[in-house]
């Protein structure tokens, strides 16, 4: 313990050296901006800074990337809260609550909560990385595709079903999204599925087009066509974020749970921030005494999701530093940076390159503290956009959606898909079909398929493998419970109501 503290102290001093601190701050700025722009993902931005790391040493390179990583996972929340446009899939649960809070006039509170819970989640995960990385890596190595499949199913079940007032509508939306995720070339056999000869469908439906279309374009159309107050109805008021240090105390439960879920799921190689944000949000619904408030602008949902996203950053670094296995796409790029500089991450790294490792870990701590200030400034800049009149804002949102979709593959087909999903999103809202489960289906469906098929191959098509492994069995049992419990509750309520009615009829002479 003492040795770790000494190393961490030395790392902190090194991380605060002008060059290293500059790299962290630069990375944070790049990450927050890229994360906030739909179509430019956090992973894209880490890839974009990779060539610059040739010119630097390994520590400043990694600190630059860590800055981009920490800033990137948070950046998408700002536009999600203000404009209902999540920058990355991982920011979707934050958007569900944050945008509703914003529309209810609590923009400052929502932005402040997002900044603070991100910073606390990221900070806790960096400290976890410093103190518990090696034993946790050994535990996480025991997870296989079977457990990953169950984690994804748990995420799908908990978020789609809990808190939705019509479970069937949510399930229709979820299965439709999962089906969209199967369109395109299948990964295992390379077979085209449901492309029907349309060239751009062969590469599949990119979830970013679904995300941008359903949330942003759908919302613009919704705002524009409301008869009550054209183009201004429901727009949140101008907002300067506040930093609610004390406001976090009543939300310590969701904050702690979200952070822990982020660290654990982030630490499972292959899961990552998106899965952790959905699972954390779903779990929070289960813990909540009022799950019906989720989706209406409920602060615990935002805090749980946001702390989990940044909490996953430290978890994902554990695999990279202790085993040399990248736990996510972002850490895979960082592995590239290590290899460029001739360093092989792995069990020996903590002894042979202790100074560099602890500087990187300390850099994560510095990045998460600095993110409070930079996140505040970024939110301030984006919040000033709220002063822009709605006709201008709505118009430019559509143009940015065009650019975001086109930037994916430089293909107009993605723009068409985005606009199509935008119109679909509008009508889904009108027809009573919830949008979030569809988005979840598109994002998590392909992951579930991949893990399921891998599990089947490794177990010789033995389905019992999902029940014989304890973690998987518990997660699947919980998933079933989540789906069945509301059905039983509804049936019981109906029985009680009909019982009361018949009692009343008998009592009437």
């Amino acid at each position: 313990m003492t040795e770790i503290l000494v190393n961490l102290g030395a790392g902190l001093v090194a991380a605060l050296a002008p060059l290293n601190l500059g790299m962290i701050l630069l990375g944070l700025v790049i990450g927050i901006l890229a994360g906030a722009l739909p179509g430019i993902t956090m992973v894209n931005s880490i890839v974009l800074v990779l060539p610059f790391t040739y010119l630097m040493g390994i520590v400043p390179s990694l600190l630059l990337m860590i800055g981009v990583y920490c800033g990137g996972v948070f950046g998408g929340s700002i536009t999600g809260i203000l404009f209902n446009i999540p920058g990355d899939p991982m920011n979707v649960p934050t958007t569900w609550e944050g945008y509703r809070m914003s529309r209810a006039g609590h923009t400052r509170y929502a932005l402040g909560l997002a900044i603070m819970s991100s910073a606390v989640g990221g900070l806790a995960s960096a400290l976890f990385l410093a103190f518990f990385a090696p034993p946790f890596a050994r535990f996480a190595l025991g997870f296989s595709s079977v457990e990953f499949f169950s984690v994804v199913v748990f995420g799908l079940a908990s978020v789609s079903v809990l808190g939705q007032s019509s479970m069937l509508a949510a399930l229709i939306s979820l299965f439709a999204g999962m089906f969209l995720g199967t369109v395109g070339t299948e990964q295992q056999y390379g077979v085209e599925r449901f492309a029907f000869g349309v060239p751009f469908l062969k590469t599949g439906v990119d979830f970013v087009t679904v995300l941008i279309g359903l949330f942003a374009i759908g919302e613009v159309l919704e705002q524009m066509v409301l008869k009550a107050a054209p183009s201004t109805a429901g727009r949140p008021a101008t907002a300067v974020p506040r930093l609610p240090l004390l406001d976090l105390w009543p939300l310590r439960g969701p904050l702690t749970r979200g952070t822990l879920v982020g660290i654990v799921i982030g630490g499972l190689a292959g899961a990552g921030a998106t899965v952790s944000s959905f699972v954390s949000y779903g779990l929070e619904k289960q813990f909540s005494r009022r799950p019906e408030l989720f989706g209406t602008g409920h602060a615990p949902g935002l805090v749980a999701s946001e702390s989990s996203v940044n909490g996953s950053t430290g978890g994902a670094m554990i695999h990279l530093l202790t085993l040399g296995i990248p736990g996510s796409a972002a850490t895979a790029v960082m592995l590239g940076a290590f290899l460029i500089h001739g360093i092989q991450p792995g069990p020996l790294l903590f002894t042979t390159q202790a100074a560099a490792v602890y500087t990187i870990i300390a850099g994560m701590i510095v990045a998460n503290v600095a993110m409070i200030g930079l996140g505040f400034l970024a939110a301030l800049c984006f919040a000033t956009l709220m002063k822009v009149p709605a006709p201008i804002l709505d118009t430019f949102i559509v143009v940015f959606c065009f650019l975001g979709a086109f930037a994916l593959r430089n293909d107009m087909a993605d723009v068409w898909l985005t606009m199509l999903f935008g119109v679909l999103g509008f009508f889904m809202r009108r027809w009573g079909l919830p949008v979030p489960p569809l988005v979840m289906g598109v994002i998590l469906g392909p992951m579930a398929e991949g893990y399921f098929l891998t599990s089947m191959v490794s177990s010789g098509n033995d389905l019992s493998v999902f029940l014989t492994r304890p973690v998987s069995a518990v997660l699947l049992a919980l998933s079933v419970l989540i789906v069945v419990w509301p059905l039983l509750r509804t049936a019981r309520r109906k029985r009680m109501l009909s019982g009361q009615r018949s009692d009343g009829e008998e009592a009437t002479p």
Partner: protein, 171 residues
């Protein structure tokens, strides 16, 4: 809404799921011996979709009045302007349709002006300024800084786009 009208949409969902299951025939021909083929997962998902739609149709049929809970999770179905909606969707479709032909620059300038007017902007000066300055800033940011190869248009429109690119020093 009549009972029959209410079940049309869920039943269409069932029909779509069945149709897609039929379309997935032949996908498993490439499957290796003893392994699940590429058609297994989509069929599983489509079975779930079909079943959920069927249950929804049955529920809506048995229920005498529309399910008030179904829409509660979403936006309240407030009154909307159908004309404005149709015009908005038409403008978006025209924008995407025209972009490869007119080029991003001209299509965006026209779209910003038209969509702003539709969304309620009334000042011609504000509309023109936003359309022209907005497009120029976007071009500079995305062509010069991000190197995004935005559509330049065809024929004379391409020539015009390239001339503006040169004037803005982004080409």
């Amino acid at each position: 809404m009549t009972r029959a009208a209410r079940v049309v949409a869920p039943l269409a969902g069932v029909a779509l799921a069945v149709g897609l299951v039929l379309a997935s025939r032949g996908l498993d021909e490439v499957a290796r011996e003893g392994q699940l083929g590429p058609g297994f997962w989509p069929r599983l998902v489509l079975a779930g979709l079909g079943l959920a739609c069927l249950l929804k149709a049955l529920g809506d049929w048995r229920r005498g009045t529309p399910d008030p809970a179904a829409g509660a999770a979403m936006e309240p179905a407030s009154e909307i302007s159908r004309a404005r909606l149709a015009a908005g969707i038409a403008l978006i479709v025209l924008y995407v349709l025209a972009a490869p032909w007119l080029g991003f620059m001209l299509a965006t300038t026209a779209f910003i002006a038209a969509f702003m007017a539709l969304a309620g902007a009334r000042s011609p000066l504000a509309i023109t300024a936003n359309a022209v300055a907005g497009t120029a800033i976007l071009l500079y940011a995305f062509v010069r800084v991000v190197y995004l190869p935005l559509p330049k248009g065809e024929g004379v429109f391409e020539t015009l786009t390239l001339a503006v690119y040169r004037a803005l020093r982004i080409f």
